[in-house]
């Protein structure tokens, strides 16, 4: 193995913290701008959608199927009820296409009579009433006449394929021929709920000229805009979408708000009043999108020294009842499935199928957390089989600059897998801790204190463990996605001398509203407070693409910087080369407004061939490592995740506090995914569809998280940033599962690693069970 010089951890952390000195004035935290919308959120002044008052607004509700698969024969309002004061909307009321515009036009806005219901929470009819009590009473008095159809719940059995890909590189057979150990493994992950704090919420307001104005909680105003235009036959102006303060998204407000907005609009157009469509938590959990469940099978050939020589991977994802974003989620899953490791002989086969469950969709990580849990756990098992340290096997295989991924992409720059790994290993004292837990495990075995009878306890109630995972995350949209999007972002100097950054990038807690002004202020040499970031209103801002895929900082941030540079050059050019900050007000007064629109230009590299799955799948990758320490209660299988060292390489850090916040939040979400977040499904219905039963970690369950930010700037965007939102989500779960193994000696191959699964695995692996 080549030797490498490593930056000592402290130095890198220091470096990360001085990327942007910001301004040292009162009211600044650690010399970085305060979160723009922070004070309003902290003081309760922030207005979320449900806080907005529209006089005369009615309340909307969705009548949903209660069957997983059925033909809709009739919708029958109870003839004994008074329907005169309310409006009912069915598919017959839809003026345009009855589809929620997405990748495929397969999902109806409302199931038409004669059509097929595909999942138990599918919208069939809509109801609006002047008050909530009338709505509640009448909602229960619409009967759906249906004819039951056979339902499919197993994605491996389903014959309806939404998407499938095959990635091939090298010679698989030759690779396995060369291998000194071949290990197979099967891994499963279930649904995960995004659980944003604010439920789905949209208010639709009828506008002059037959248009509609949407106010709501969402990630992607232009997705909603597009959906409205198609279904309601409206033009760009008639449909207007305004994002309101949004209490979290995590992908859950990428595509689903289109559905809610369409429902609210149909009701609003029919009753000619504003309609409030605000989901309660129960409806939100039972009907909206989740992370895709998946079954992932690995067959891996390695040399005795740990070198990976062949990887054969099969992924099956459960798309749910409709396609939504499944092909793209699956694509990202396939492209990340091998992990951040060089391997000359690879086959990755991926398919996503339909089941009669609510559609699955975008969730932080977007297909990568599922496959990275599998590959990392599998690699840890290989390390165990070869008696290698989990760190050592990664050192042996992790990508270096110049390595090729399975699509033939040559990693030319900004490759920091080793750096992330070594930072995590050093900061956690990984090898020392591992030696300690190994000694503790030996002592437990030696003293015979491991319970052999199922109903006994051992002398030591708890065991400690440490686990490591390494990950990567393709920056920005997959493949040719950014080229198709052709985003536009603008920087404007208004006639009255204001500087405005115009993008469709939404704030949902991650910091868009803070970092864009920060980036532009730095370019223009003005204080950050002088840069305005107007709200995400399709009548005001250009389509700079969706706020997804950790692309905001990297792609749109880059466009904004380029626009700002052009603006600066133009203004300075008109003013004898004097600095922008001295002349821009006079320039605006004399010259009038100047607006620069910057359009996306493809990144350099090998264009991605979507047919053959060859070429540069992403312009660059972010790199992450996590080391988790856990304490497992050997009596009950309860896991307490105590510490996580989260190392994330993000290109450049724009705002360290917000960036660390992303790392901590993503890590905790990954800990929940690893340990307790479990959606139980019976006959296609989520059984635990309430906050009392779908549990996420509380403050008391949260580990101490130490985030270490590493920078390997991406040279083809002006600021070098690669994005941070999803990275920490990819590595947390496999690190926790590895730590559980270190503590207990048992591998949990299905997420979440619940106490029930841990005790069952321990019972199956006990000497008694083996005998």
């Amino acid at each position: 193995m080549p030797t490498r010089t490593l930056t000592p951890p402290t130095e890198t952390v220091e470096r990360a913290l001085i990327v942007d000195p910001g301004q040292r004035v009162p009211g600044r935290a650690r010399a970085y701008p305060l979160r723009r919308e922070g004070p309003a959120k902290l003081t309760g002044a922030a207005k979320y959608t449900d806080d907005l008052v529209f006089p005369g607004a009615w309340y909307g509700a969705t009548i949903r199927s209660t069957e997983a698969h059925a033909r809709l024969l009739a919708i029958e309002p109870d003839p004994d009820a008074d329907w005169s004061k309310v409006v009912i909307v069915t598919a017959a009321d839809i003026p345009g296409h009855n589809v929620v515009a997405s990748i495929k036009d397969d999902q109806p806005i409302l199931v038409p009579v004669g059509g097929e219901i595909q999942h138990h929470a599918e919208p069939v009819a809509l109801l609006a009433a002047p008050d909530r009590e009338t709505l509640r009473q009448l909602k229960g008095r619409i009967r759906l006449v249906t004819e039951q159809l056979p339902a499919v719940f197993d994605p491996e059995v389903s014959a309806h394929v939404f998407a499938q890909y095959e990635i091939k590189d090298g010679d698989l057979e030759a690779g396995f021929g060369e291998a000194e150990l071949v290990l197979e493994g099967s891994y499963r992950v279930g649904h995960q709920e995004q659980l944003y704090i604010e439920n789905q919420a949209i208010i639709a307001v009828p506008a002059e000229g037959g248009g509609i104005e949407i106010h709501g909680s969402m990630q992607c105003p232009y997705y909603v805009h597009n959906a409205l235009k198609r279904a309601l036959q409206m033009d760009n102006v008639q449909a207007r979408v305004i994002q309101e303060e949004t209490g979290g998204g995590f992908g859950g407000k990428e595509e689903y708000p289109s559905m809610v907005a369409l429902h609210a609009s149909l009701l609003a157009l029919k009753c000619r009043r504003p309609v409030r469509m605000i989901y309660d938590r129960h409806e939100d959990i039972s009907a909206t999108t989740k992370r895709h469940p998946a079954v992932i099978r690995h067959r891996t050939g390695v040399k005795r020294d740990g070198t990976i020589v062949a990887q054969d991977i099969q992924i099956v994802m459960d798309g749910g009842a409709y396609c939504t974003l499944t092909p793209v989620v699956l694509s990202r899953g396939a492209l990340h499935a091998g992990g951040p490791y060089r391997c000359p002989n690879v086959r990755i086969r991926a398919r996503a199928t339909r089941t009669n469950t609510p559609p699955n969709g975008a969730f932080r990580g977007f297909g990568a957390p599922q496959v990275e849990f599998a590959v990392e756990t599998h690699l840890n098992r290989i390390a165990e089989a070869l008696e290698l340290s989990p760190a050592e096997i990664r050192r042996c295989n992790a990508y270096d600059e110049g390595d090729r991924t399975p699509t033939g992409q040559v990693l030319r720059d900004s490759v920091a897998a080793h750096e992330a790994l070594e930072q995590a290993v050093a900061a956690s004292h990984f090898e020392r801790f591992r030696a300690m837990t190994a000694a503790e495990a030996k002592a437990r075995r030696g003293s015979g204190t491991i319970p052999e009878e199922p109903y006994r306890t051992g002398a030591s109630r708890t065991a400690r463990g440490i686990g490591l995972a390494l990950g990567w995350h393709g920056a920005g949209f997959t493949g040719a996605g950014e080229v198709h999007l052709a985003s536009v972002a603008s920087v404007e100097l208004t006639a009255d001398g204001r500087i405005r950054v115009l993008t469709a990038q939404t704030e949902m807690g991650q910091g868009t509203k803070t970092i864009f002004p920060q980036l532009i202020a730095r370019e223009l040499g003005v204080p950050v407070d002088w840069v305005e970031y107007p709200s995400q209103d399709t009548a005001e801002v250009p389509n700079s693409g969706p706020t997804v895929a950790s692309r905001t900082a990297m792609v749109v941030g880059g466009l904004c910087i380029k626009a700002a540079r052009r603006l600066k050059a133009e203004v300075e050019g008109r003013n004898g080369g004097l600095p922008f900050h001295e002349v821009f007000r006079d320039d605006a007064a004399s010259h009038g407004a100047t607006r620069i629109d910057e359009r996306f230009e493809p990144f350099p590299g090998e264009p991605f061939d979507e047919e053959r799955y060859r070429g540069d799948a992403y312009p660059a990758f972010g790199w992450a490592a996590a080391v988790a320490t856990v304490q497992v209660d050997l009596d009950t299988g309860e896991v307490s995740v105590q510490d996580v060292i989260a190392v994330d390489e993000v290109g450049t850090v724009i705002h360290p506090i917000l960036c660390e916040g992303q790392v901590e939040g993503g890590t905790l979400q990954a800990v929940g995914y690893a340990t307790i977040e479990e959606m139980k499904v019976e006959d296609g219905r989520y059984v635990n569809d309430r906050l009392a039963t779908y549990l996420i970690p509380t403050a008391l369950d949260a580990p101490h998280i130490r985030s270490i930010l590493v920078e390997a700037p991406y040279p083809h965007v002006p600021h070098g940033a690669k994005g941070v939102g999803e990275l920490p989500m990819d590595v947390g779960a496999p690190a926790v599962v590895a730590a559980i193994h270190d503590a207990t000696g048992t591998w949990i191959t299905e997420l979440p690693a619940t106490p029930e699964r841990i005790l069952a695995a321990l019972a199956a692996s006990s000497p008694e069970a083996a005998a």
């Binding site: 909530r132 009590e133 509640r136 309660d280 129960h282 319970p451 009878e453 199922p454 109903y455 006994r456 306890t457 109630r461 009596d635 009950t636 299988g637 309860e638 307490s640 307790i676 139980k680 059984v687 635990n688 309430r690 009392a692 039963t693 549990l695 970690p697 509380t698 403050a699 008391l700 369950d701 106490p755 029930e756 005790l759 069952a760």
Partner: protein, 284 residues
């Protein structure tokens, strides 16, 4: 959210008794169960509600000659902060601390936990293990019920529709030890998968006396494990006794699979929690 039913807020018990006798009316104390049922539309909305929060007679924690007496409207926070509870009934304090979050503990009451009669009610095994009695009352008079007779079926109690829970009396017996353990999905805001309380008296005799083993979340009601108690009665917590008691408990329980856990897990964990408590008591 559905319309709010009319609410009566009496200040005296006799007024509450009159309202109850005129029924139907749903008593509400902290509301931590009732409100969830209403907003979650989990059953019919009460036609009227009887707010018990202003009745002083239902409040207070006192040490009386034969025991510790808690008013039914005592909140979990009050239990946690009570010096009397901490001194005489630390296991109840421990149980109160595991319920919900701070906001729930501020509102939720001991009497409410009893009236709600959930098999997962975290304080209920303590009542069973401590031989608590529940004082109930109405226009027809007052009566004392043993906690062990109170829970008659799944969410069913011996309380008549015209009665209120007034007080819970925990007898304080010399030499009694009481231990509590809850196993939930997370460390706060979690409904239990298994909850177990064990009480015994160690009077220096050859074995333990008055052994009580009580559990929640393993049956339609909070229960006492009589067969297991018999194994432990008169015995000492040696490894052999603990093994036998744990196996007996595993045989005695018939838990079910539900949204929170599995029957197998509950059986195993209940047995192991007992084994662990006996191991700790035995000091081996």
């Amino acid at each position: 959210m559905p319309a709010e039913p009319p609410i009566d807020t009496p200040r005296h018990l006799f007024e509450a008794y009159e309202l109850l006798a005129a029924g139907p009316i749903r008593p509400i104390a902290g509301g931590t169960d009732v409100m969830v049922q209403i907003t979650g539309e989990l059953g019919p909305i009460p036609e009227r509600m009887l707010d018990l929060s202003r009745i002083d007679a239902l409040r207070g924690i006192a040490l009386e000659a034969d025991g510790l007496v808690l008013g039914a409207a005592t909140t979990y926070t009050e239990i946690r902060r009570s010096a009397l509870c901490r001194e005489h009934l630390p296991a109840l304090v421990e149980a109160a601390a595991t319920i919900g979050a701070a906001q729930i503990q501020n509102r939720g009451t001991l009497g409410g936990n009893i009236a709600n009669a959930s098999p997962a009610g975290d304080t209920l095994p303590i009542l069973l293990a401590a031989d608590a009695t529940i004082l109930v009352g109405g226009q027809r008079g007052e009566r004392q019920l043993a906690a062990a007779e109170f829970f008659t079926g799944y969410r069913q109690t011996a309380l008549a529709p015209d009665e209120l829970i007034l007080q819970v009396r925990f007898p304080l017996r010399p030499g009694r030890e009481l231990r509590f353990r809850k196993v939930g999905t997370r460390r706060a805001q979690a409904i239990s998968k298994v909850v177990l309380a064990i009480a015994w008296r160690d009077l220096g005799a050859p074995g333990w006396a008055d052994v009580r083993v009580a559990l929640g979340s393993v049956a339609p009601t909070p229960i006492r494990a009589a067969v297991t108690e018999a194994v432990l009665e008169g015995a000492r917590p040696t490894p052999a006794v603990a093994d036998l008691a744990a196996e007996t408990l595993a045989d005695e329980l018939a838990p079910i699979d539900d949204v929170r856990s599995t029957a197998e897990y509950r059986r195993t964990v209940a047995a192991r929690v007992l084994h662990r408590l006996l191991r700790d008591a035995g000091g081996w």
